[in-house]
């Protein structure tokens, strides 16, 4: 075949632009650290990466929310533990008060403590995290429990609702602290903790041994109810824990999969880049060589 000057230049230019293209691609991969910089780099992978990123974003958000929910459950757990200890102490006082050998001053001291326990219980059942009252159901913006004092007659009332707080964590939904009124305020079932405490305090105020004795039964029911709710919160904490470790595991796996799809194998990419750059340099040298040699250099004046 005839080889002309133009042909050699064209060929070198083609090779040059080919080498340049490969080199630019390798440069982009090394610079961005990503194998897929636009969907056409790997159409299937790009589609999968979108789904993976979406799921990762959802898990990321869930991981942040896990902390909030855990805070609420832990606070609820703490409050319930405190309440349960408080009720145990109240029972001791009631038992002590009911034995019939106490002096009036002894009873006075006990009555004072019973009164104190009742008021301390209020701060436990009205526990809040970031302005949200935990045991008020979804009506969490108002103080849920109140000791209504009508002419010296104290009645515990509940202002919250009975709606469970449901939060979404990635694919799962989880319940926050259980809403009132039970086990704090009686609602047709067991005696509520506040009711039991008020009854005991009233019994001491009345100084009625029988009444004090009966209040022990109420306290027992309240302890039972509180323990049961504590167990429920514990179950939710365990569920949250399991969910969180599941999320972490899934996040790790998905991150690996995403990385294997999207991220570039850096050492491979750098080797490729060097390779393409070398080709590019050679093409440039060849082109310079083509331009230099001409028959005209070898012909003297005719």
């Amino acid at each position: 075949m005839r080889i002309t000057e133009q042909l050699r230049i064209n060929r070198s230019l083609t090779d040059l632009s080919g080498a340049q293209r490969l080199s630019a691609k390798a440069e982009e991969q090394v610079a961005s650290g990503r194998r897929i910089n636009r969907p056409s780099d790997d159409p299937f992978g790009a589609g999968r990466a979108i789904k993976l990123r979406a799921e990762l974003a959802s898990i990321q958000e869930a991981s942040e929310n896990v902390g909030l929910v855990r805070g609420e459950l832990d606070s609820a757990d703490g409050a319930l533990q405190g309440l349960s200890e408080l009720l145990a102490r109240a029972r001791e006082i009631a038992v002590q008060g009911a034995n019939g050998i106490n002096s009036t001053s002894d009873l006075g001291v006990l009555q004072e403590e019973a009164d104190g326990l009742m008021r301390r219980a209020m701060s436990l059942v009205n526990v809040e995290v970031g302005g949200r009252y935990l045991f008020g159901g979804t009506a969490s913006d108002a103080v849920p429990f109140e000791l209504q004092d009508v002419g010296g007659v104290i009645t515990p009332v509940y202002h919250g609702d009975s709606q469970e707080r449901v939060v979404g964590l990635h694919l799962a939904t989880l319940q926050g602290p259980p809403p009132g009124p039970e086990p704090f305020v009686s609602n047709g079932g067991r005696t509520g903790a506040l009711d039991a405490l008020v009854a005991m305090r009233d019994a001491f105020v009345a100084g009625d041994m029988n009444q004090i004795r009966t209040s022990i039964d109420g306290l027992d029911e309240a302890i039972e109810g509180t323990t049961e709710t504590l167990a429920r919160v514990g179950a939710r904490q365990a569920e949250l824990q399991a969910l969180e470790s599941g999320l972490n595991e899934r996040q790790t796996i998905l991150e690996q999969v995403r990385s294997s799809i999207e991220d570039v194998d850096l050492s491979q990419a750098i080797v490729d880049l060097k390779d393409h750059q070398a080709t590019y340099e050679r093409s440039l040298q060849v082109l310079a060589g083509v331009m230099q040699v001409s028959i005209l250099d070898f012909i003297g004046p005719l």
Binding site: P43, A54, T173
Partner: protein, 566 residues
């Protein structure tokens, strides 16, 4: 002595001169695009019959200046150029489109959707925190903006292609006219027995450009004319050219016609063909993005309409979209809901209406509606039948619902279930979250404030169950999206866009290689080689020198004779 008049020597001189002319012409045009090298064809001149026996030569004659071309190869180069033009134009356009649709950064559609669903999850956990409400609304705004900018980019790209095609057709028409004129000029020159080499080159360049633009095929005709056809239909024949024009079809895509012909040309090669294919592809992609936007709008509005706003249940509500009086009865309220110009995505549904009386007691009444049969009036009268509510349809086609004093109402399922599965409320524009009908006009609906945002299914401040339904949109398979969830649907769109772009770019690389190979071949046959030209130059120079020497010897002989006479 026949040669003593010097005519043989003269013919040698002239031939060498002519040879030098051609060499010079070749060298001068070495880099001219489309130039075909020429060579001098020499033949010995007609001999004389000599009386003393045998024939005597009379010198040399330039029979023609020939183009060294391979017509078959030229044709293949043109076809390859047309294919490459198509592939390159398509690949370039699709490359731009995929970069926008396939933006995987946080500001791409996928990232914005993720942000929206994440904001919904956060809202579900702390619906009583004003900042999560604001964040959620701003994520809706940003998503709407993302859809708008993606949609308008795709639309602008389509419109841009239309303009570009029109510009190219102008060039095509000029070139076709030029080929027709050159056909005439060549006919005139070659009719007188000469070779119109350079005119042929010019015509070749024009024909080549026409191949690249619209895939015109060229046929050499016996009279020296070049006939150009597109898809078998004549563009140029003899001295006549037929102009092309572009029109837009119902979908807004351009089509190319011969002027005055009703059926469009199907251009499967050439840059214009590639642009048209890219335009159709962009249109399909826009339709998919629009479909996604519509689904998100409908679902988000359906969920929002069936929640309870932070400010509590409604005491009065007016739908934001106006039903049309399609059946021309004089009232917009008696048309079926799906036939009242509000769209027709809603399906048979049951809407549970919860009414809270002044004592705070909630009673729930289900209303069953078939939007293909039931009208807005039917819905209004069913609502009015509920104690504490009155509803009517305005003359402008809006549904107005009012609660009696002390009453309030909402469409939330207090038990946490789904309400209005058919989406009738969303279609009517009752308490919408998002306004707009698709990707081009999506926006946060007017009047949605953090307080008016329906995050719960009950009046409780930390009831975030409706927010969970928002994030559930991201996980649910939607029939309007072929059973995919929104991100899955987008992934398919992006995969497709990437696939199309990859195929186009692979093809354009391949067809460029073919074109290069053929160009190289053509250059090998018709290109100018400096070495060859310089060698020819030396050859003709020597020839000229020898012929001059011959003439000078002849001159000497003549002098000798003259002196003898003197």
């Amino acid at each position: 002595m026949a040669g003593l008049d010097g005519s043989i020597g003269l013919s040698g001189l002239l031939a060498a001169q002519r040879g030098m002319d051609v060499v010079g012409h070749n060298i001068a045009n070495a880099s001219t695009p489309g130039y075909t090298r020429q060579s001098v064809e020499l033949t010995s001149a007609l001999p004389l019959d000599h009386s003393t026996g045998g024939q005597l030569g009379t010198g040399v004659r330039v029979s023609m200046v020939r183009q060294v071309a391979d017509l078959f190869l030229d044709g293949r180069v043109r076809v390859a150029d047309a294919t490459n033009g198509y592939d390159t134009a398509l690949s370039q356009r699709l490359g731009e489109v995929e970069a926008i649709v396939g933006d995987t950064s946080d500001s791409g559609l996928s990232g914005l959707m993720s942000a929206f669903f994440s904001a919904a999850d956060a809202l579900g956990v702390t619906p009583d925190d004003p900042s999560t409400r604001v964040t959620f609304l701003s994520s809706v705004e940003r998503l709407a903006e993302g859809f708008r900018s993606t949609g308008s980019f795709l639309e602008a790209s389509r419109v841009g292609i239309t303009r570009e095609v029109e510009g190219m057709l102008e060039e095509v028409n000029q070139l076709a006219q030029q080929v027709a004129e050159l056909n005439l000029a060549i006919l005139n020159v070659e009719g007188s027995g000469q070779q119109a080499n350079d005119l042929r080159d010019q015509r070749g360049v024009a024909a080549r450009r026409l191949s690249r633009l619209v895939g015109a095929e060229a046929t050499q005709q016996s009279d020296g004319g070049l006939k150009l056809t597109i898809g078998g239909r004549i563009l140029v024949t003899g001295t006549r050219a037929r102009p092309l024009e572009a029109k837009r079809d119902a979908d807004g895509n351009s089509q190319v016609f011969f002027e005055g012909v009703a059926t469009p040309l199907s251009l499967d090669s050439g840059e214009v063909g590639g642009l048209l294919a890219a335009q159709r592809q962009t249109g399909r992609m826009f339709a998919q993005v629009d479909q996604l936007a519509q689904s998100v709008i409908q679902e988000a509005n359906r969920v929002h309409a069936t929640g309870v706003p932070g400010s509590g249940s409604y005491t009065s509500l007016t739908s934001t979209l106006n039903a049309q009086d399609v059946n021309l009865s004089g009232s917009p309220g008696d048309d079926p809901i799906n036939g009242a110009g509000l769209g027709s995505f809603a399906g048979p549904t049951t809407i549970a209406v919860s009414v809270t009386d002044p004592a705070g007691v909630v009673s729930t009444t289900p209303i069953a509606l078939d939007p293909n049969v039931d009208s807005l009036d039917d819905f209004a009268s069913a609502l009015s039948a509920i104690p504490g509510l009155s509803a009517s349809v305005t003359s402008g086609g809006q549904l107005t619902i009012n609660a009696a004093a002390g009453f309030s109402f909402d469409f939330a399922d207090r038990a946490g279930g789904d309400n209005d599965p058919g989406g009738v409320l969303a279609q009517l524009g009752v308490a919408p979250l998002v306004a707009g009908r698709g990707a081009l006009d999506m926006a946060l609906a007017d009047g949605v404030t953090p307080q008016r945002l329906a995050a719960g299914l009950g009046p409780g401040a930390s009831d975030g169950r409706n927010a969970l339904r928002f994030s559930g949109i991201g996980r649910g398979s939607l029939s309007a999206l072929d059973g995919e969830d929104p991100q899955g649907f987008l992934a398919v769109v992006v995969s497709e866009a990437g696939h199309e772009a990859k195929v186009a770019s692979d093809r354009s690389v391949a067809s460029e290689r073919v074109l290069d190979a053929l160009e190289t071949h053509r250059e090998g046959v018709s290109g100018v080689s400096m070495e060859e030209e310089v060698a020819n130059m030396i050859r003709f120079q020597r020839g000229f020198e020898a012929a001059s020497r011959y003439l000078s010897v002849l001159n000497g002989l003549s002098d000798e004779l003259m002196r003898m006479l003197g």
